[in-house]
Amino acid sequence: MSEAPVGVRSMTVTVPTAAGSAAEPSCYSRFVNEWFCWQYVEDRHEEITDALVQHIAITLAALVLGVVLAFPLALLVRRVPKLQSAVLGLSTGLYTIPSLALFPLLVPFTGLSATTVVIGLGLYALTILVRALLDGLASVPDEVREAATGLGHGRARLLLRVELPLALPVAMAGLRVAAVSTVALTTVGTLVAYGGLGNLISHGVQRDFRAELVTAAALCVALAVVLDALLVLLQRVLTPWTRAVPS
């Protein structure tokens, strides 16, 4: 196999038999290069796990950042309606900027770090969440609000006990959209070397390594589906009153 690196392409016909005499070539060797290869997953499970953990950490950090910023911003906009068009316009503009351009714009401030990816994705999540929160709060019927005020609820209690719970379904729908797209977008973080599974995809493209590419892509989609299911579950737990109504 010592001659393999030279003229790999022209050797593809002869080399597998040479390798085959010792052992079957693994399904992810450059000569076979299968799309699905369990052997690859077994052999590289540490690398894959590391990438997956990084992916999850970046996604969750970005979502938490988005939620933490979206709440005060949405409440502020509600208090000062004049700000609404400015905030929504700004977030639309931000949402327009492609991720591959947003990360470089943050690099001068945060460097080539996971922070760059987290802040970038957090900003995207923020734009979705602010809108969803405002939509959710606007969906609370005025009669309910008046009834609660009539019952002697103060502003804070009205918000926490009445408005937020009723806004939850719409807000959670926004969170689900934000979560799924954040999982997908984390891959672009590979530009600054913090892309979680995106790093594997990037490496897979450069080396034409199909098993690596497909495994990472499939894990991305699976992660998005699992996160979405967990959020649906969370919503069920948080809004027990909706379960009484058969849908």
């Binding site: 503009g93 714009l105 672009v188 493209v205 892509a217």
Partner: protein, 259 residues
């Protein structure tokens, strides 16, 4: 190292990259890359509109396939743009071969772009037609309109603003996806960013990002303007219903995949 100094450095490098005429001309220059990306974005938008709109409008008219519209947009969001591009490039077909003026990996990029433009187009067009109030449809039937007349004269004009916002979202999505194509050596301005990062030339990377972002904002404003033009039907009559429809439209608006 003083971080403030480094910051100023990157910005001055960016500035000098952007003001150097040599970086704008030539085969890999900013202008050539910009035209490449505008060409592929425009082509993909046209293809996606041709494929997606008739289908979605017709399904909306029939009142069937809502499940299809929702699922398409959900799947579109969960599949990373980058992963799909990578799969297309690594496959034997379409691969990363040259595709005329679209450059290396052009066909793979074009396919990925069309696929990612379809979800917002289909969802919005479908929802737009479905949201036409039942009373209006009944009135149209009562006036003796045929199914085609009802679609052509009632549903389509009333759905147009929501359809237009879908096209606008698709455009934003297309521009983002076309930028990401650079990660698989595809065409477009993203190449200036990835090449800058690959050479540790952050001035160039930032310069590319600035151009991409400015053009993105410009396209968004342009699309918003077009959308306003498509809206005269909604303006005149009851503003209440208009507000209601556009509000639900904006919830759909969160549906697009991001790139």
């Amino acid at each position: 190292m003083d971080p403030g100094g480094a910051l100023v450095n990157v910005f001055s490098e960016t500035w000098s990259y952007l003001t150097d005429g040599a970086n704008w001309s030539g085969s890999g220059g900013i202008v050539a890359r910009l035209l490449e990306q505008l060409l592929i974005t425009g082509t993909a938008l046209a293809l996606a509109v041709l494929i997606g709109l008739p289908l979605a409008l017709w399904l909306g008219h029939l009142g069937r396939g809502g499940f299809l519209a929702i699922n398409i947009s959900n799947i579109g969001r969960a599949v990373p743009t980058f992963a799909l591009l990578a799969l297309l490039v690594a496959a034997d077909w379409p691969g990363s071969a040259d595709f005329g003026p679209y450059g290396r990996a052009g066909l793979a990029t074009l396919i990925a772009l069309v696929l990612f433009a379809l979800p917002p187009l289909i969802t919005n067009a479908y929802v737009g037609v479905r949201e036409v109030p039942a009373e209006i449809l009944e009135a149209a039937d009562g006036m003796g309109m045929s199914s085609w007349q009802r679609f052509r004269r009632v549903e389509l004009p009333l759905a147009l603003p929501v359809v237009a916002s879908g096209v606008r979202l698709a455009l934003v999505q297309l521009w983002a996806t076309a930028t990401i194509a650079a990660l698989v050596a595809g065409p477009g301005l993203g190449r200036i960013i990835t090449e800058g990062f690959a050479r540790n030339d952050y001035g160039q990377g930032l310069a590319g990002a600035v151009v991409v972002a400015v053009v993105a904002l410009f396209l968004e404003l342009f699309a918003a303007l077009l959308q306003r033009v498509a809206e005269p039907v909604r303006r005149a009559p009851s503003p209440e219903r208009g507000a209601q429809l556009s509000a639900s439209g904006s919830t759909v608006a969160e549906a697009p995949t991001r790139g």
